[in-house]
């Protein structure tokens, strides 16, 4: 059995959706043109993950395994719609930026993946920690990727100009190809860091 802390760390770093599992790439590559978009999308996904993980963990003993996938999809889609409506009502500006990407959280496989792999087998509290960890890990990846693309592609970070007027932005980085290039370098960096961290123990 794993502890709450392990559930969190596992979701946040060891089994990070983007860096390690490499699932949920569609919203990742789509919204990460700026760091602030990354934060918004990441936190919305975290909220959905927390809600859906807890709800699925609660009903895990009632739902027969044959119909669990449709049941999970209903639960996840409901949470996404609720978040979509709430954001539209109370954070209208952010909702305008994230726009079509919010409904897409439904098809982000990291959420169904986490429901299937974790929440349907673990207690409510552990599932909550797993949801928070996975969500924040996803947010970290999005913010990292968003920052890199924003700095190189527009010369700004969180909307502030940091590289001065003489900097000529590489527009490629806010276009789709830049997302792949930047993600590739970030993945390489994460692998390198993990290897370096592990190797002395060997």
């Amino acid at each position: 059995m794993i502890t709450n802390r392990q559930a969190f760390i596992n979701g946040f770093w060891t089994n990070n959706t983007i860096f390690v599992q490499m699932i949920g790439m569609c919203p990742t590559l789509g919204v990460s043109t700026t760091a602030i978009n990354g934060i918004g999308m990441g936190l919305a996904t975290t909220a959905v993950l927390m809600g859906s993980n807890v709800a699925i963990s609660m009903v895990r003993k009632v739902i027969p395994s044959d119909v669990r996938i449709p049941a999970f999809i209903i639960i996840i889609a409901s949470f996404v719609t609720v978040i979509d409506l709430l954001m539209n009502a109370f954070f209208h500006d952010l909702h305008k930026i994230l726009g079509i990407f919010i409904p897409l959280i439904v098809v982000n496989c990291c959420i169904l993946g986490q429901a299937e792999a974790f929440a349907s087998k673990n207690t409510i509290i552990k599932s909550l920690f797993d949801g928070i960890g996975t969500g924040l890990g996803f947010t970290l990846a999005l913010v990292l990727l968003g920052s890199v693309r924003e700095i190189i592609g527009s010369g700004t970070i969180f909307g502030y100009n940091i590289l001065g007027a003489s900097f000529h932005p590489a527009i490629t980085f806010i276009l789709p190809p830049g997302a792949f290039i930047a993600l590739g370098f970030i993945l390489a960096g994460v692998r390198w860091y993990n290897e370096k961290r592990v190797s002395p123990i060997k």
Binding site: P70, I75, S78, V82, L85, A89, F90, H92, K96
Partner: protein
């Protein structure tokens, strides 16, 4: 109870609970969403309309349809700005179908004397960093104060007065064309736009 009926019943219960929650959330958020949308509309209207109007332009509207405003003849809403009941200007959305990718929607406000007061690109799918300069830079300001006659309508490349961008001529050309069509329509139908609102 046979297994398949049990499954169906359980799915039905899950769906019922989910629907109830969704209906409740929709009920709670309906008013705030409508309000946020209205505030947003008023905000952009204030940006393009001349200062000093004291009516509610989003309440004082009329719909007209014409091919020069929208290719598919979809009715276009005219938001009227009035000061003490005296019409001052109208704001409306024109669609440029000939951008680089997809439609460009442009909100423009014209004063009653036929001068453009403000132009703002409200939605587009142009290339970020190239064509999207029509919405993220001060470029739309170059329309302010323009009339049908005091300017050469077109981008500089076509012999007009409006700047194009390095690497992006199609987008500004489409926007200039759409604004010109909107202005022509406004001037030609000015009386209709303002008179029908009085009878309302």
């Amino acid at each position: 109870m046979p297994e398949f009926i049990k499954m169906g019943v359980i799915l039905m219960i899950v769906a019922t609970i989910a629907t109830t929650i969704l209906a409740a959330t929709e009920e709670i958020t309906r008013a705030p969403i409508a309000d946020a949308k209205r505030q947003e509309l008023l905000l952009v209207l204030k940006q393009v309309l001349p200062k000093g109007f004291n009516n509610e332009p989003d309440q004082d509207t009329l719909k007209l349809s014409d091919q020069s405003l929208d290719r598919k003849n979809k009715p276009v809403t005219f938001y009227l700005a009035k000061k003490d009941g005296e019409p001052q200007a109208a704001a409306f959305v024109v669609v440029a179908p000939d951008g680089y990718s997809g439609n460009i929607e442009i909100l423009m406000a014209v004063k009653i004397d036929g001068t453009i007061n403000g132009v703002r690109v409200v939605s587009h799918t142009e290339t970020p960093g190239l064509g999207d300069k029509v919405s993220v830079t001060d470029w739309p300001k170059s329309f302010e104060g323009k009339t049908q006659t005091n300017t050469k309508w077109g981008v500089k490349k076509d012999g007009g007065d409006f700047d194009q961008f390095a690497g992006a001529t199609i987008t500004p050309r489409a926007v200039v064309g759409a604004v010109k069509r909107g202005l022509d329509f406004f001037v030609a139908n000015k009386n209709q736009i303002f008179s029908s609102a009085d009878t309302k």
